[in-house]
Symmetry: C2
Subunit: 358 residues, 2 copies
DNA sequence: CTGAAAGCGCTTACAG
DNA sequence: CTGAAAGCGCTTACAG
C-alpha cells in the first residue's frame, strides 16, 4: 500500500512493496519474477496477483547491477544501404529491448576508419560489437577487435573466417536458386550485373549464377556480364550496355535490388515493358524491391532475423568472455527465400508464354 | 592496482580502485568524473590521470540506480517509409547512446492499433514515447497517452496541438520556398502531386504550393493537381495523368521523394528527359532522393536532428514528470533546406535557358 | 575542497 | 520451499 518514496521524491513500486503486500520476503518475490521453480504454487499466484495489482515492474538498472549481467553493444556500419540498415536496426532493437541491453551505433568510412570508431565504442563502455557488411568481411577489422579483446559478431558476412562468429545466408546457393528459376521460366539468354568488387558477396553471387548456367548447359557470354557497384545508377548504366548488345537478353539478374531498380528504369527508357519484354530480378528484398513498379522479384535475406540472432550470439559471447569461459565461434547460416513479384515472367516465345495467351 | 573481483568473478575497475590509486575518497573521484567544480585542480588532474591509466569507465547501471535518473523510451511508428524510419532511428540512437537511455520500439497499424502497442511499451517499463508520423498527428493517440500519464513527443507533426511537445519543420513554408524556386527557374505551368490525405502535412504542402502560385499571379489549374499516396507507384500513375494533359507542365512538384522518383520513371517512359524537358522535384530528402537518377532536387527535413531534439525534449519531460514538476509543452520548429540536385533546371524557352547555350 | 555514511532496487550465496 | 545478510558500483545529503 504505502509506496516507497525515493531519495529524489519519486514514487516507485519496488520488490519490497510487493513482498509486504503479500506477506513474504523480497527474495520470494524475486524468485517469482524470475520464474524460478522452487516456489510453492500458491505463493507464486499470490505474488503474481500482487505484482499485477501494484503494477510493479522491475528496475532494470538495479537488476543489472546485482547480476552484473548488463551489456551495451555497438553496431558498426559503413557505406549503408538505408533499407538494409533500417531492417538490421529493427531486428537488433527488437532483441536488445527484450534483453535490456543498450545499443550504441557508430559509422565509419570503410575498414580503414574502423579503428577510431571502435575506440570510441570501447570508451563508451561497449561490451561487444556487431559488424554489418562490408565490415563483417574485413579481416582488418576482425584483427583490431581481437587485439582489443572485444567480442563481436559479423552479420551477412559472405566469407566469414572460421574463428569468428557470424550470421549469414548462403549467397552462392541463393544466386543458384534464382538462376534456376529464370531458366525454368524459359530464359536462355540471361545477363548478370555484378555487385561491388570490394564485397565478397558479389563474387559468390556471380559464381552461383555462373555455376547454374553451366550446369544447365548454357553459356555465360562475357558481354552479358556487367560490372555494377550496388547503386541504382550503376544498374541503370550497366543495363543500358547489356540491352544494346546484339543478342539482347530476355532476363537480367542484378546482384541487388537497387541495381535491379535501375535496370528497370533503363528498360522503360528504351521502350521495353517489364516483365512482358524483359524480366529483371534483384537480390536482398530491401524496401526498394517493393517500392518501385513493377515490384521486383528478388531473393529475400531475412535481415531482421539475422540481426536478432546476432545479438543473441553476441550476448552469449560477452557472458562467456566475462566468466573467462572459452567461446566457440558459431557460424549461423539462415535460410533465404525466392520472392516472386511482378518483374519476372516466362521468356518470350517459350511454350509457357504461348499457353498464357491461349 | 589490486582490481576488484566481482561476485561473479568478473574483473572490473571501479571508482574505489581509482580512489585507492590516487589516495582520495571515492566521493572525490565521483566529483571529478561528473565534472563538478569544487575539486582542487591538482587532485582533479591526478584523478583524471588515474582514470586514464586504469582505463576506468563508469558503470551505468550503478549510476542510474543511484541517481534514479535512468529512462527507457519507446519509439512508436506505423506505416513507415524505411528511409524516414532509418534516419529517425539513427538520430534517436545517437542521443540515447549519450544519455545512457534504452530504446524500445513498437509498430502498429495506424492510430487504431496504437492502444495495444502502447500498453506493451508501458508494460516493458517505458517512461516516455516518441511518436513518428502519422501517429504524431493523431489526437486519438495523444489522448491515450495522456490518459496513461505517459510523457510523449511528436516528431514531424504537421499540426501539433498546442498542449503537446513536438519537433517539426514548417511544411507550408517549405513548399512555399520550393515553389518560389521553380518560378525563379522560369516555370509557369507547374503540376503538383498531393500526399496521402490521411496526413496533415499533405495539406500544408499543397497550401504552400497554391499560395505561392497565387501570389505570383499564376493559376493552379485543377487538372494539374493530382492525388497521390506518398508511394512510388502513386507518383508514377499521377505523373502519367499529368503529362498527358494538353497543357503539359514544365515542372512537377511531388509532395515526397518516392512520388517524385515515380514521376521521373514515368517521364523516362514517355521519352522525356529529366531535367532537360521536365523538371521534377520532391520533398523530404530521404535516401530515395539521392539513389535514383537523376538525383532529386528536394526539400530537406533534418530528420536526424529532429529525432535527437525530440529525445532531449522527452527526457526533460520525463524528469519533470518524476519530480512532479509541471512541464510546459514545447513546439520546436527546425529549419528546412532546399537541396538542388540534377532533376531540376530552368524552364524551356526562358531567357536563362537561352543563356545557358550561349 | 574533501570524506564517512547511507541508500538506490535487486540478486547471489548461504542457511534452514 | 523460504528468508536474512551482504553486496553490485555509484551518488545524495550531510558534515566538516
Amino acid at each position: 500500500m504505502a509506496r516507497k518514496v525515493g531519495r529524489r521524491g519519486g514514487n516507485i513500486v519496488t520488490i519490497h512493496d510487493v513482498a509486504r503486500h503479500v506477506g513474504v520476503s523480497p527474495m520470494t518475490v524475486s524468485r517469482v519474477i524470475n520464474g524460478e521453480k522452487n516456489v510453492r504454487e500458491e505463493t507464486r499466484a499470490k505474488v503474481l496477483a500482487s505484482v499485477e495489482a501494484l503494477k510493479y515492474s522491475p528496475n532494470l538498472a538495479a537488476r543489472s547491477l546485482a547480476t552484473q549481467d548488463q551489456a551495451r553493444i555497438g553496431l558498426m556500419y559503413s557505406n549503408p544501404s538505408v533499407a538494409f540498415l533500417s531492417e538490421l536496426l529493427l531486428g537488433i532493437l527488437e532483441e536488445t529491448s527484450q534483453a535490456g541491453t543498450q545499443l550504441l551505433i557508430e559509422s565509419c568510412d570503410g575498414p580503414e576508419g574502423a579503428s577510431v570508431a571502435l575506440e570510441r565504442l570501447k570508451h563508451s563502455g561497449c561490451d561487444g560489437v556487431i559488424l554489418s557488411p562490408p565490415l563483417s568481411d574485413s579481416t582488418r577489422v576482425a584483427k583490431i577487435l581481437k587485439d582489443m579483446g572485444m567480442p563481436f559478431v559479423g552479420v551477412a558476412a559472405a566469407r566469414p573466417a572460421t574463428d569468428i562468429c557470424s550470421v549469414s545466408i548462403d549467397d552462392f546457393k541463393a544466386a543458384y536458386a534464382m538462376t534456376r528459376r529464370l531458366i525454368e521460366l524459359g530464359h536462355r539468354t540471361i545477363a548478370f550485373i555484378k555487385g561491388h568488387p570490394n564485397q565478397y558477396a558479389s563474387q559468390l553471387r556471380y559464381e552461383g549464377f555462373e555455376s547454374t548456367m553451366e550446369r544447365a548447359g548454357l553459356t555465360v557470354e562475357p558481354q552479358l556480364v556487367a560490372q555494377g557497384y550496388f547503386t541504382y545508377r550503376s544498374g541503370f548504366d550497366a543495363a543500358e550496355r547489356l540491352l544494346n548488345q546484339k543478342n539482347r537478353p530476355t532476363a537480367i539478374f542484378a546482384s541487388n535490388d537497387d541495381m535491379a531498380a535501375g535496370a528497370v528504369a533503363t528498360a522503360h527508357r528504351l521502350g521495353l515493358e517489364v516483365p512482358e519484354q524483359l524480366t529483371v530480378v534483384g537480390f536482398d528484398d530491401t524496401a526498394m524491391a517493393s517500392s518501385v513498379w513493377p515490384e521486383l522479384t528478388t531473393v529475400r535475406q531475412p535481415i531482421s532475423d539475422m540481426a536478432s540472432m546476432s545479438v543473441r550470439l553476441l550476448l552469449d559471447q560477452i557472458r562467456a568472455h566475462r566468466a573467462g569461459r572459452p567461446f566457440e565461434a558459431v557460424r549461423e547460416v539462415r535460410d533465404f527465400a525466392l520472392i516472386e513479384r511482378q518483374s519476372s515472367d516466362v521468356a518470350l516465345g517459350t511454350p509457357e508464354a504461348g499457353e498464357k495467351d491461349a
